[in-house]
């Protein structure tokens, strides 16, 4: 019995060692506050951040807020008591989490904003593609597609938003409509897919195709909404290219739809680069060293660090994915993580 217990203890210790390899703990634990796991971008961000942070010596623990602001606030309070090396926050609500950010920083814990920028308070670092900027890129692509289809920037665009309570979708809408305001001949019909639920998007497309049969482009704010949109187009007897389809975030399913000919453009959020940038600067952030403004190479993407009112911010340009470049391994939707390890910025 004693012999079995000894072996059991040895096995248990071995298993624990495998779960928490020593090399990933050498610099301490970082918490990632992910807003939801019901979204391929967010799920991808967990694995990307985990991979890059491990490469620079940090262990990462993730807490999922399930898209609930109050839950994320509670999680922030809990994590502050654990005194991690840093907190990476992708806020459910950009403003509501500002007091939590302040509380963490007051406790000496650096806070990094990931993907969702908080401009109402100071953070130690922000890594974003820029949700408003995604709207800008989408507007440029709509301009191109309408010119290609109608000979001029005129026509009808059905914009399928995500849940109207989510600032992420409202920012994309703001950027998109700000740029499109320059084209008065373009009619934009905006409808929200409640709770980001795909079948709601499908219903919107089905209804609008009947009310506005001359829709030129369906622009959804997430790739999974476009899947349902395409299913509705197919049910309505449309062929690929009859109605142009585009969306944002760069999820794998969108790239597949581009290959199938149903989707013309996907505006990518550079997930890998956004995550890699966090890892590259993590040592400086933890040591509370200044981050120099300037241009940095993040996984081959020229990215610019600026000192903003809310702290140092790296903006990594989003890209438009089309049939011409869909195979590019740099797009996270192709699920080919970079093989080269990131190195900390000296």
């Amino acid at each position: 019995m004693k012999y079995m217990l000894q072996w059991g203890m040895v096995l248990l210790a071995g298993a624990a060692g495998m779960v928490n390899p020593a090399y990933s703990q050498e610099k301490g634990t970082v918490y990632y506050m992910v807003p939801t796991l019901l979204d391929e971008f967010q799920t991808g961000s967990v694995s990307a951040l985990e991979m890059f942070l491990e490469q620079v010596g940090y262990e990462m623990t993730t807490l999922n807020a399930d898209n609930k602001t109050d839950l994320q606030q509670s999680q922030m309070n809990d994590v502050i008591t654990l005194a991690p090396k840093a907190i990476i926050l992708a806020a459910v609500d950009f403003n509501a989490l500002a007091p939590s950010v302040e509380a963490a920083r007051a406790a000496g814990i650096p806070v990094i904003e990931f993907d969702r920028q908080i401009s109402s308070t100071m953070s130690d670092f922000t890594s974003v593609a820029g949700t408003v900027e995604i709207g800008y890129v989408a507007a440029e692509q709509v301009e191109r597609l309408l010119t290609e289809k109608n000979g001029a920037v005129k026509g009808k665009v059905l914009q399928v938003l995500g849940d109207p309570g989510d600032p992420y979708t409202l920012d994309i809408q703001m950027g998109f409509e700000e740029k499109m305001a320059a084209f008065p001949d373009v009619i934009i019909i905006s409808q929200p897919a409640m709770m980001w639920e795909a079948s709601n998007a499908g219903t919107i497309v089905s209804d609008q195709l009947l009310a506005n049969p001359d829709i030129d482009i369906v622009f959804s704010h997430a790739a999974h909404l476009s899947v349902a949109a395409v299913a509705s187009l197919e049910s309505a007897g449309k062929q690929p290219g009859d109605v142009y389809v585009m969306s944002s975030n760069g999820a794998p399913v969108a790239l597949q739809m581009i290959r199938d000919g149903w989707m013309q453009v996907e505006v990518e959020q550079p997930l890998y680069a956004q995550a890699a940038a966090v890892a590259m600067f993590m040592d400086k952030i933890v040591a509370k060293q200044p981050i120099e403004p300037g241009e940095y190479d993040v996984l081959g993407l020229k990215s610019v660090v600026t000192n903003e009112e809310w702290g140092p911010t790296i903006k990594i340009p989003g890209a438009a994915i089309t049939a011409d470049n869909v195979g590019d391994a740099a797009f996270w939707g192709n699920l080919q993580p970079p093989t080269e390890a990131v190195t900390p910025v000296p």
């Binding site: 796991l37 019901l38 979204d39 391929e40 967010q42 799920t43 938003l161 109207p164 809408q173 019909i189 905006s190 409808q191 929200p192 409640m194 709770m195 980001w196 639920e197 795909a198 079948s199 709601n200 499908g202 219903t203 919107i204 089905s206 209804d207 609008q208 009947l210 009310a211 506005n212 999974h224 899947v227 349902a228 395409v230 299913a231 197919e234 049910s235 999820a251 794998p252 399913v253 597949q256 199938d260």
Partner: protein, 331 residues
């Protein structure tokens, strides 16, 4: 009141939700541009497919005097299970069968098995262990959705086999075949409730469980079957949802539970049990879809749609309450 006018009033009250539906369709047709066209009415029926089927299962359990909050999550799990096996993109394994049409019964069987498993577990905990149905099914609502996220890793499975998509694309008399499946379900289950011993027993148990037991009805067995049917019908709804959207995402079907409840209540099913008929539920589902379609066509700012949706549902339920008070006065 003369006996004749009383009879007319009772017919109106019995079918009030259908009259409400007609009134709403007439008002929307007259006031909303592009609403009045066959395609829109076909859309309303098509959009009612998934919610309608889901509402049947929920209604059965509520009529029996219990509750099943797990239907939305069960639908999501069955959709994800079928999509993971038979979809070819994302996390789909792209399993192909020969001949190709076998994918239809195989995916349906898989989905129904998932629903049956959850339904039986709910039923066992409620009927045999005597746990509260609200708590048991609330727990299932949470863990089953969690299982969807865990199985999928938050990713989606897309591109279902053409043989499955055919059910959503192929139309007969302007409606996709999936809509006929939903209509057939309503006809079948309405018949079961109105004309079979099991249906009558379910109503009696919902009205007074103790009296039904004393009358010799096998209450436990009837309730177990009700939970089993609720799970399987929810799974069927999930299968239809997957076919409609050509796959499944981790958040597929989110929010449908509350719409199913609204449809059931609007349809005249008492939350206390023992009262209600399924045709009214179908009218309730159609009413909600008609309202949704109107909101989609009105081009309202995104922020206001939920407010309007909620208020319209409230108006429908208020009318139903008015109906109950008139009925009490008549009695």
């Amino acid at each position: 009141m003369t006996p004749q006018s009383r009879r007319v009033l009772e017919v109106v009250l019995d079918n009030l939700v259908w009259f409400m539906l007609l009134a709403v369709l007439a008002i929307f047709s007259a006031t909303i541009p592009n609403y009045f066209q066959p395609g829109i009415f076909a859309n309303i029926i098509e959009q009612s497919t998934v919610l309608g089927v889901m509402s049947i299962g929920l209604a059965l359990v509520i009529i029996a005097g219990h509750m099943d909050l797990s239907v939305e999550s069960v639908a999501a799990l069955s959709a994800m299970a079928a999509s993971m096996v038979f979809a070819s993109s994302g996390i789909g394994m792209g399993v192909e069968l020969t001949p190709g049409w076998l994918v239809v019964p195989a995916s349906l069987a898989l989905s129904l098995a998932v629903g049956a498993a959850v339904g039986l577990l709910n039923g066992y905990l409620v009927v045999k262990i005597k746990m509260n149905a609200f708590i048991v099914t609330l727990s299932s609502f949470i863990w089953v959705r969690g299982l969807v996220v865990a199985l999928s890793g938050g990713r989606s499975a897309q591109n279902l086999a053409d043989e499955l998509r055919w059910l959503a694309i192929q139309r007969f008399l302007g409606l996709p075949l999936t809509a006929y499946i939903a209509i057939a379900c309503f006809v079948g289950f309405s018949f079961m409730m109105a004309k079979t011993r099991y249906g009558r027993h379910l109503l009696m148990i919902g009205g007074n469980e103790a009296a039904a037991f004393r009358a010799g009805i096998k209450v436990d067995k009837v309730l177990m079957i009700a939970f089993l049917l609720s799970g399987m019908v929810a799974a069927l709804a999930g299968w239809l949802l997957a076919i409609r959207t050509s796959g499944a995402t981790a958040n597929l079907g989110t929010g449908m539970l509350f719409n199913a409840f609204a449809a059931v209540v609007i349809g005249g099913i008492s939350l206390k049990g023992g009262v209600g008929a399924l045709p009214g539920v179908y009218a309730g589902v159609l009413l909600l879809s008609a309202i949704n379609t109107a909101i989609n066509l009105m081009g309202l700012p995104a922020h206001f749609t939920q407010v309007i949706h909620g208020l319209l549902v409230l108006a429908a339920v208020l009318l139903d309450t008015l109906k109950q008070s008139i009925r009490k006065k008549l009695a």
